[in-house]
C-alpha cells in the first residue's frame, strides 16, 4: 500500500515542495525514514509511533518505509511529523487517501498526538499557493500566520485526531479568534523624534537618510544619543508595503522569532552587539538560518561602536550590502536570504571619545589607528557621515524640535518624487543609484558642479566622497521639491559628510 502526502521544507528563505511517500508491505515490522533528514527527522519515527497509538489509531505492524522526496534536498526540523503520520494513516486505510490530495500538511507532533507550532509557516503557506494546492493543515497556533496568504484554505488543528476527522469529510475548523494586540506594539510606544533634544544637525541628517535610503554613520562621544537617534529611524521611514511586510514576517517566522497573528507592520530595527560573529550577522550555521542582516530586511541595521566589530564580521556584510541578498554555501548547497536594509552605524570620533574637546588625550597616532580600524569596506558605503557632539545644556532643557510625523510627511513626499523619476528602472531610492544612473538623474546646475570641484581641489572631499555628496544632494533637492540639484543642496550635503572622521586631514 502506498500513500502520498504533500508538505514543504524550508530552504533558506524559500519553501520547497516535499512529497512524503509511505509504503507498507509485509515483512518484519520496521519503520524507516529515508530522504536526507536531519536528527529531528530521524527522531520523528518515535513521535509518530507514540502519537498514533495515543490518539487511538492502530500502528501497522508491517514494514514501513517513508521517503521524503526529492531525495537531494536536505530536510530540517520536526515539521514533517504530521505529514508522516497522515501518510501512515492513509497507507493503512485508517483515513481515505483521496482526501489528502487536496491538502498540504505541516506541523510537529507531540507524543500524545497534539500538534505543535513550527517555524516558517508563512513560507509554507506561500508555497502552498504557488503550487496550487487547495488547502493547508497547520498547527492551530500558526493558523492565523498561514491565513495571511490569500487563496489558501487554512485548517488550524490541535490534534492528530482532528486531522483525521477533517480528512474523513469533517468541517474545516474556524480560524482561532484574534487575540487583543499585545501592548508593546501599540503605536504610542513607538519611539518618536520628539524625544530628541538638541542635535538639530543630526536630526536633519536622519531626515535626509530616511528620504533617500542613505546609509548613515554617526560619530560622537559616548552618551550623546547616537543609539537613541538610530532607534527613531524606522519611525520616519515609509510604512511597509504588503509585499515587504510579508517578506519581513516570513523571515522572522523562519528564524522562529514570530509569534504574532498579523503581518509585522513596523520596519524592523536590529542592533546586534559588537561581539557578533560573521555568521550571526549575515546568517549561517550548520543548518543555515537568517542572520541579523536578513532580520533587518526592509528595515534598519544599527551597528553601535562600529570600530569594535570584528574585521571578518564587517567584511561579511559587504556582499549583502551590495546585492541586497546573501548566499550561504553549505555542503554544496546554496541558500539565499534577502538583506535589503538601511545601515546606520555609530562610532567614537577617537579612542577616548572626546575628540575636538580639551578633554581629549589622544595623540595623532591614536587617531590614525582609530581611522584605520574604521576604514574599509563599510565606509565605502556610507553616504552620510555626521558628527554628534555633546549638546549644550540649554538644548537639553528645551522643547522638542520636530516630531516623527512631521519628518515622515517630508520623507514620503521626497520618496514619491524619487519613485516618479526612477519609474521603470526598478529602483526606488537615490541611495541605490549606480554612478551611471546618478549622472543621468542628478540634473545638477553649473554652480553645484563648481562647488564640488572646489571642495575636491581644496582636499576637503575625497574622490569617493564626490559621488556620495552628489547622491545626497539629489535627495536634499527631492526634499525641497526641486527638479534640479542647486548649489545650496550641494553645500548642505558637504556639511553632512565629515570626512575628517574617517579619512584624516591631508598632509597634516
Amino acid at each position: 500500500m502506498l500513500a502520498r502526502v504533500s508538505t514543504f521544507a524550508i530552504d533558506g528563505f524559500a519553501s520547497r515542495r516535499v512529497s512524503v511517500e509511505v509504503d507498507l508491505r509485509t515483512g518484519l515490522p520496521a519503520f524507516t525514514i529515508v530522504g536526507r533528514g536531519d536528527a529531528a527527522v530521524r527522531e520523528s519515527r518515535e513521535r509518530v509511533h507514540a502519537a498514533l497509538l495515543n490518539s487511538g489509531f492502530a500502528f501497522p505492524q508491517r514494514r514501513i518505509t517513508v521517503n521524503l522526496a526529492p531525495a537531494h534536498l536536505r530536510k530540517i526540523g520536526p515539521g514533517f511529523d504530521l505529514a508522516t503520520a497522515c501518510g501512515v494513516l492513509a497507507a493503512s486505510e485508517q483515513i481515505p487517501s483521496a482526501a489528502l490530495e487536496r491538502w498540504a500538511v505541516f506541523g510537529e507532533l507531540g507524543l500524545s498526538g497534539d500538534v505543535r507550532r513550527c517555524r516558517g509557516v508563512l513560507a509554507v503557506a506561500e508555497g502552498t499557493r504557488r503550487d496550487r494546492i487547495a488547502g493547508l493543515i497547520v498547527p492551530r497556533e500558526c493558523a492565523r500566520e498561514a491565513a495571511l496568504v490569500d487563496d489558501v484554505v487554512v485548517a488550524g488543528v490541535s490534534s492528530l485526531r482532528q486531522v483525521a476527522a477533517l480528512l474523513r469529510g469533517g468541517e474545516v475548523p474556524e480560524l482561532p479568534a484574534l487575540a487583543p494586540a499585545p501592548k508593546r506594539d501599540a503605536p504610542a510606544e513607538q519611539p518618536d523624534l520628539a524625544d530628541v533634544r538638541g542635535h538639530a544637525g543630526a536630526v536633519r541628517a536622519l531626515t535626509v537618510a530616511a528620504a533617500g535610503g542613505h546609509n548613515l554613520l554617526l560619530s560622537g562621544p559616548p552618551g550623546t544619543g547616537k543609539t537613541m537617534l538610530a532607534a527613531r529611524l524606522p519611525s520616519v521611514l515609509p510604512p511597509l508595503t504588503r509585499a515587504e511586510a510579508i517578506a519581513v514576517t516570513r523571515i522572522h517566522s523562519i528564524a522562529g522569532m514570530y509569534t504574532g497573528q498579523e503581518l509585522i507592520r513596523r520596519r524592523p530595527l536590529r542592533a546586534p552587539h559588537h561581539t557578533i560573529s560573521p555568521s550571526g550577522l549575515v546568517g549561517g550555521g550548520m543548518l543555515p538560518s537568517p542572520g541579523e542582516a536578513s532580520l533587518a530586511h526592509n528595515g534598519v541595521l544599527f551597528l553601535d561602536e562600529l570600530s569594535e566589530f570584528s574585521r571578518s564580521a564587517l567584511e561579511a556584510l559587504r556582499q549583502p550590502l551590495e546585492d541586497g541578498t546573501v548566499a550561504i554555501v553549505r555542503r554544496q548547497r546554496t541558500v539565499m536570504f534577502p538583506t535589503r536594509f538601511q545601515l546606520v552605524a555609530s562610532t567614537n570620533p577617537c579612542p577616548c571619545g572626546h575628540a575636538g574637546s580639551p578633554r581629549c588625550r589622544c595623540t595623532e597616532a591614536d587617531m590614525a589607528r582609530h581611522r584605520r580600524k574604521l576604514s574599509g569596506p563599510l565606509l565605502d558605503r556610507m553616504d552620510l557621515i555626521v558628527p554628534m557632539p555633546r549638546p549644550a545644556a540649554e538644548a537639553l532643557d528645551g522643547g522638542p524640535t520636530t516630531s516623527s510625523a512631521e519628518v515622515l510627511a517630508a520623507v514620503l513626499e521626497a520618496r514619491e518624487r524619487q519613485a516618479e523619476r526612477l519609474a521603470g528602472s526598478g529602483l526606488t531610492t537615490n541611495a541605490a543609484l549606480s554612478p551611471r544612473l546618478l549622472r543621468e538623474h542628478v540634473c545638477a546646475d553649473a554652480a553645484a558642479h563648481a562647488l564640488l570641484r572646489g571642495a575636491y581641489e581644496r582636499g576637503t572631499l575625497s574622490a569617493r566622497g564626490h559621488q556620495r555628496v552628489l547622491r545626497v544632494a539629489r535627495t536634499i533637492a527631492d526634499l525641497e521639491g526641486s527638479a534640479c540639484v542647486r548649489a545650496h543642496d550641494v553645500k548642505e550635503a558637504l556639511g553632512l559628510r565629515e570626512e575628517h572622521a574617517v579619512e584624516g586631514a591631508r598632509a597634516a
Binding site: A200, A355, S357, M367, A508
Partner: protein, 364 residues
C-alpha cells in the same frame, strides 16, 4: 654643491658612534659638548674597549663609496666647507659637518645667501586644533612672504607648519633626525613625499640612518641654527621645543612664542617662555615684522570677512564666539539645514576648517 672627504669621514664616524653617544646621553653627558669634539677626542671619549676597531674603521673610510651611497639614495651632500652651506649654521661649534638633502637642493642653497630669511616654527606633538591652525597659518603667511619655514616634520605643530607652507608652494625645509631619505615619523610619509617633491628635507646623518633618541635634540640644534627666529606654538613644560628655543637663545637668535590659555597644560611651556621675555607672536604678521623688520612684508590676507554677505558674516561671527558645532548654531532641523550650507560655504571660502568632533575652527 659637494662635500669634502674630511667632512664625510666625520659624518660617518658620528653615525658609527651613534649607539655610543646614546649610552653617553643616558649617563647624562651633554650632547652638544660631545658633538663639538674633534674626531680623536670623540673616539677617546666614547670608544672605550672598542676604540681600536673604530679607529681602524675610520682609517679604512672610503669617501668614493660614501658619495656613491649618497647619490644612490637620491640625496645631495653639502659640507661646511662648501659655498652652499648656510653660513648661519657655522656659528655653532657643534654644527653638522655634512648636510644631506632630499628633494630640491636649491631650497638649502637659498639659505647660503647672507641674511636669507628663515623662521623655525616648532611645538607639541600632541597639539590642540587651535594650535595646529595657528601653526598652519604661520607656515602659510611666512612662506607666502618668501620666508623659509624650518621645522622638524614631527607630529602635530611641526607638520602643520610644513603643511601651511606647502599650501602656498613653499619655501619650507624639514630637518630630520633620521637619514634624509627616511621619512620619520613613518606616519608622516605622505607629508614627506610632498615636501621632497617641491621642497627639501635635510639631515646630518648618512642615508638610511634610523634615529636614536639623542638625534632629536641634535636635530633641534640644526633647526635653531638655520633660523633667525624660532617660534614655539604650543609646548608643555617638558617639551623638546623648549630645547630648540634654548639653543636659539644660546646662538643669540630671537625666540618667540604664541600665547595659549593660562590654564592649559599644553601651552604651559610656551607661556613660560613669554614670561621669560620671548616675543609675543599672534599671527604671521608678528613673525614677519620680527624676521624682516616692521612693515617690510605684509602677510597675505586672502579672506576678508568684511566682504562676506551679511548672513555668512553673522554665521562666522557666531563660530568665532564659540558656537562652533551645528547643534550649537541651530535649534531646529530647518535652521540646521541653512547652518550646514553656510558652514560648508565658509569652509570652501577658506574661513573655516572642520576638525574632528564636529567642530569648526577659524582659519588664521
Amino acid at each position: 654643491m659637494s662635500a669634502c672627504d674630511g667632512c664625510l669621514r666625520r659624518s660617518a664616524l658620528i653615525a658609527a658612534l651613534a649607539a655610543h653617544i646614546e649610552r653617553a646621553r643616558r649617563n647624562h653627558r651633554h650632547i652638544a659638548e660631545l658633538l663639538a669634539l674633534g674626531e680623536e677626542d670623540l673616539l677617546d671619549a666614547l670608544g672605550g674597549g672598542r676604540r681600536g676597531d673604530l679607529e681602524r674603521a675610520r682609517e679604512g673610510f672610503d669617501p668614493v663609496q660614501a658619495r656613491e651611497r649618497i647619490s644612490a639614495a637620491g640625496l645631495h651632500a653639502v659640507c661646511r666647507h662648501d659655498g652652499a652651506y648656510p653660513p648661519r649654521l657655522t656659528q655653532a661649534a657643534d654644527a653638522a659637518a655634512v648636510l644631506h638633502v632630499a628633494g630640491d637642493p636649491g631650497r638649502l642653497a637659498a639659505l647660503a645667501i647672507e641674511d636669507a630669511p628663515a623662521v623655525a616654527v616648532v611645538g607639541a606633538r600632541r597639539a590642540g586644533h587651535d594650535g595646529l591652525e595657528v601653526a598652519r597659518g604661520l607656515g602659510r603667511g611666512l612662506a607666502a612672504a618668501g620666508v623659509t619655514v624650518v621645522s622638524g616634520m614631527a607630529l602635530g605643530i611641526d607638520s602643520a607648519a610644513h603643511a601651511g607652507a606647502l599650501e602656498v608652494g613653499g619655501p619650507t625645509l624639514a630637518v630630520l633626525a633620521s637619514g634624509a631619505d627616511v621619512p620619520y615619523p613613518p606616519s608622516k610619509r605622505g607629508l614627506y613625499r610632498e615636501i621632497v617633491r617641491t621642497q627639501a628635507a635635510i639631515s646630518e646623518m648618512p642615508p638610511g640612518f634610523r634615529p636614536f633618541r639623542w638625534c632629536f635634540p641634535a636635530r633641534n640644534r640644526t633647526i635653531a641654527g638655520l633660523a633667525m627666529l624660532t617660534i614655539v606654538v604650543e609646548a608643555t613644560e617638558r617639551s623638546g621645543s623648549l630645547i630648540t628655543a634654548e639653543l636659539a637663545q644660546d646662538l643669540g637668535r630671537a625666540v618667540g612664542a604664541v600665547p595659549g590659555p593660562v590654564s592649559a597644560p599644553r601651552a604651559a611651556g610656551s607661556n613660560a617662555l613669554l614670561r621669560d621675555g620671548a616675543l609675543v607672536i599672534r599671527h604671521a604678521q608678528d613673525a614677519l615684522d620680527e624676521a624682516l623688520g616692521i612693515g617690510v612684508a605684509t602677510a597675505l590676507t586672502s579672506h576678508r570677512a568684511q566682504d562676506l554677505e551679511r548672513p555668512l558674516r553673522a554665521l562666522l561671527a557666531r563660530v568665532e564666539d564659540g558656537c562652533d558645532t551645528v547643534s550649537d548654531l541651530a535649534a531646529t532641523p530647518a535652521e540646521a539645514q541653512s547652518a550646514l550650507a553656510g558652514l560648508s560655504e565658509l569652509e570652501l571660502l577658506g574661513f573655516l576648517r572642520r576638525v574632528p568632533g564636529g567642530r569648526y575652527v577659524r582659519c588664521s
